[in-house]
């Protein structure tokens, strides 16, 4: 407050000049943050320097930039005014298509002020848009890559900035097809997401960007990403977004595989079977190691259900359909037995009533209910034996009275299973 009251109109312009000079003199700044002025002292001590004085507005060294929270308001107001002025001039001259106007100068003004503005207001859409407009006129690879760099700088202080992520996708769409290093760029994008996800937990925008990249990946890259993200996921078992990313990768692998089957370049399900089996085993190990993690159980729902669906739909209308169908149904029966066994082993709540164990019991019971319902709702799959839901229902009623919808559903399922069971016996005889 002390400083804010001291800053008059004239001062805010010199503040902006100081800010833009720092940005120009070091184009490699890769991290920016807002800090309280008292922290400048600490920064200077750490850097063992006496160069900066205590009442500085900015601090910059080793390509890192700190802005004092005392100057944010006057600096923002000033930079917004000069940016709005610059774009109105730019628009005016563009409309006149006046040959005498100094296009280069107006453009560089817009580029300079929009950068300063975006470092204070990450989702100022108009500033991003004018950069897109100017950059698309140049169609120059290095300038496109500069935009990726600026977006990463904005994400360093605002990792959830929707517009900064969107700007990256725009750049990538612009250079896709024109660029021989596309695979490298996609690989680097994926690394950036991982770096940001490390500091900014469960960041939907970041992971969504990584999912979006999958359609630009080669089959080899997809396999590599699946391998690489496994380690990260194992260390962040509560981050549902990373498991969803694996879902996306696995579905892409299955898609590629189905194309191969159609082309006749592959004739077996071995690879898919191996990938799914490995993921199931790994997931089971994580569930037993990290007790009570919702994301792990939800990932298992996906794995099991998509596995069953894949092997039943790929059966097709072959001549020995009935035989296959009953053998698949038998396989599913065995499979379900294993899942029930896992769920039962996770549903004991020790006397000391740790919250995690209670959560584990609930997740395991709802998992089985979910699976049973999905299977009994699916056409063409019948459960050979009615799973014994009795003990699991007791767990749910005891531990989770607010999940009233589950008892609604489980009553429905038990009824359906009985019907399925009768039908199935008939089929087998």
């Amino acid at each position: 407050m002390r400083k804010e009251s001291m800053i008059l109109k004239g001062n805010s312009l010199s503040l902006l000049n100081e800010f833009e000079l720092i940005l120009e003199s070091d184009p490699l700044i890769d991290e920016v943050g807002f800090i309280h002025p008292s922290q400048f002292v600490t920064l200077n001590k750490e850097a063992s320097s006496s160069l900066e004085h205590e009442d500085a507005n900015f601090w910059s060294r080793d390509h890192k930039l700190a802005i004092s929270t005392d100057v944010l308001l006057p600096l923002y107001k000033e930079v917004k005014d000069v940016f709005m002025h610059a774009i109105s001039q730019y628009k005016r001259h563009e409309n006149l298509s006046d040959a005498s106007w100094d296009e280069g100068n107006l453009e560089s003004e817009v580029m300079k002020h929009s950068k300063a503005l975006l470092l204070l207001s990450c989702d100022f859409g108009t500033a991003w848009n004018f950069r897109k407009l100017i950059v698309s006129k140049k169609q120059h690879m290095l300038i496109f890559l500069d935009e990726l760099f600026l977006s990463a700088l904005v994400l360093s202080y605002s990792p959830k900035s929707e517009k900064a992520w969107c700007h990256r996708r725009w750049v990538i769409k612009m250079i896709a097809g024109k660029c021989s290093t596309m695979q490298d760029i996609v690989g680097k994008e994926s690394e950036l997401v991982e770096k940001i996800a490390e500091r900014s937990k469960m960041n939907y925008r970041a992971w969504n960007h990584r999912c979006w990249l999958v359609s630009y990946m080669t089959t080899e890259q997809v396999l590599h990403e699946l391998k690489k993200s496994r380690n990260w996921a194992g260390l962040h078992v509560a981050d549902n977004s990373c498991f969803h990313y694996r879902t996306r990768l696995m579905l892409r692998i299955r898609e590629d595989h189905c194309h191969k089957l159609e082309d006749g370049t592959s004739d077996g399900n071995d690879e898919i079977y191996r990938i799914w089996q490995e993921e199931l085993d790994w997931n089971e190990a994580l569930i037993k190691c990290y007790v009570g993690r919702e994301a792990l159980w939800l990932h298992r729902r996906f794995l099991v259900f998509s596995w069953i669906r894949h092997f039943t739909t790929n059966l097709g209308d072959t001549s020995n359909y009935r035989v296959c169908k009953s053998s698949i149904n038998a396989d599913i029966g065995i499979f379900m037995d294993n899942e029930l066994h896992l769920a039962n082993s996770c549903s004991t709540i020790p006397d000391n009533e740790f919250e995690d164990f209670q959560a584990q019991a609930i997740y395991s019971a709802t998992y089985i209910l979910w699976l049973t319902k999905q299977i009994s709702d699916s056409q063409g799959i019948e459960l050979q034996e009615k799973p014994n839901l009795g003990s699991l229902k007791t767990v749910l009623n005891m531990a989770c009275p607010e999940r009233s919808f589950l008892s609604d559903i489980s009553t429905g399922i038990t009824g359906k299973c009985d019907e399925g069971l009768k039908e199935n016996r008939y089929l087998l005889r």
Binding site: T126, F305, E402
Partner: protein, 313 residues
């Protein structure tokens, strides 16, 4: 349990506009149009829309319209679908849709539909199922749904569906309660809810309720008042709202009020803002809290406003 402090919330909303003295408030000026919708819709639900001068608001809104027909978040900014829907919604609240050239706005929106049926948010081409909702909701209010290829629009939304029954930003994107609201809302408006697996999605949505009674937007996340709207409205549209514990949710929202100065926050004891104030009040309206106007879960406008649009032509 405390009650909804209606008068304090009204006072809070009216004061937000006047606060220009902090970085945190001025730095959001690019989305003032959304702020206007959140604030004014809250006032209307509380029955206090007449607490401010509508002419002033309408004059400002029309200054935000771009020559393309779309609206910007503030004067001098670029247009975007996000602000276009908010502008149209606010005009609807004031029963002033007649000041609009509806065809011009509709042309802006239909011009943003892509070949695959999806919508871009603006001329720069970012695609998101949220933009499909914005387009469809806006055109529905303007009686101009015939301007787009509806079949393709619906099929694109359906292609964003996941194995868990939820919806993401684009095909293969992670399920998120906010995205689910957009997709279910758009499907509801276009009469295409048969694309939703109601039991499966209802299950996922009900699992968003945590022990405190609040709702989160994704697995493993903390509860947040805004999901009272996104999750509840979706559950109502797919007819599964009886699956959650309503009393606990009401209690959670009321606990997020600032009972001294008004406003509602994301979680108890946090700082309030106009966004969460709107979603808290809208959530309570869906929960039939006494004294509040009823809200339409798909158009996100009070039911009397929606009735006026569709039945008094």
């Amino acid at each position: 349990m405390g009650e909804l402090v209606v008068d304090k919330h009204v006072k809070y909303i009216l004061s937000v506009e006047k606060r220009k003295d902090s970085f945190e408030s001025v730095v959001l000026e690019h989305l003032r149009m959304n702020g206007a919708y959140w604030g004014l819709a809250t006032l209307d639900l509380l029955g206090k829309l007449d607490a401010l001068d509508s002419n002033e608001v309408i004059e400002w809104i029309m200054k935000c319209q771009h020559e393309s027909g779309g609206f910007a978040g503030n004067i001098g900014h670029d247009p975007h679908m996000l602000y276009t829907l908010s502008a149209v919604q606010v005009l609807a609240l004031f029963d002033k849709l007649n000041v609009l050239d509806a065809d011009k706005v509709a042309n802006y929106i239909s011009g943003l539909q892509n070949e695959d049926g999806s919508f871009s948010g603006d001329e720069w081409g970012e695609v998101d199922s949220r933009f499909s909702y914005l387009a469809i909701c806006c055109l529905s209010i303007l009686h101009r749904l015939d301007k787009i290829n509806m079949e393709k629009a619906v099929n694109y939304i359906a292609s964003c569906k996941n194995v868990d029954g939820g919806f993401g930003c684009t095909p293969g994107g992670e399920s998120h309660a906010g995205q689910i609201f957009c997709c279910v809302g758009a499907l509801a408006i276009t009469g295409s809810l048969h694309h939703v697996d109601k039991d499966l999605l209802g299950w996922w949505l009900c699992e968003r309720q945590v022990k405190s009674g609040g709702l989160n937007g994704r697995p493993e996340k903390l509860p947040d008042v805004c999901y009272s709207w996104w999750v509840l409205s979706s559950l109502i549209m797919i007819d599964r709202v009886h699956w959650i514990n309503k009393d606990k949710l009401v209690k959670f929202i009321l606990n997020c009020q600032d009972t001294e100065n008004g406003g509602i926050s994301d979680r108890p004891e946090d700082a309030v803002d106009v966004y969460h104030t709107y979603f808290g009040v809208a959530g309570l309206s869906l929960l039939e809290y006494p004294g509040l106007k009823a809200i339409d879960p798909a158009h996100a406008l009070p039911v009397d406003v929606v009735n006026r649009i569709f039945f008094q032509k």
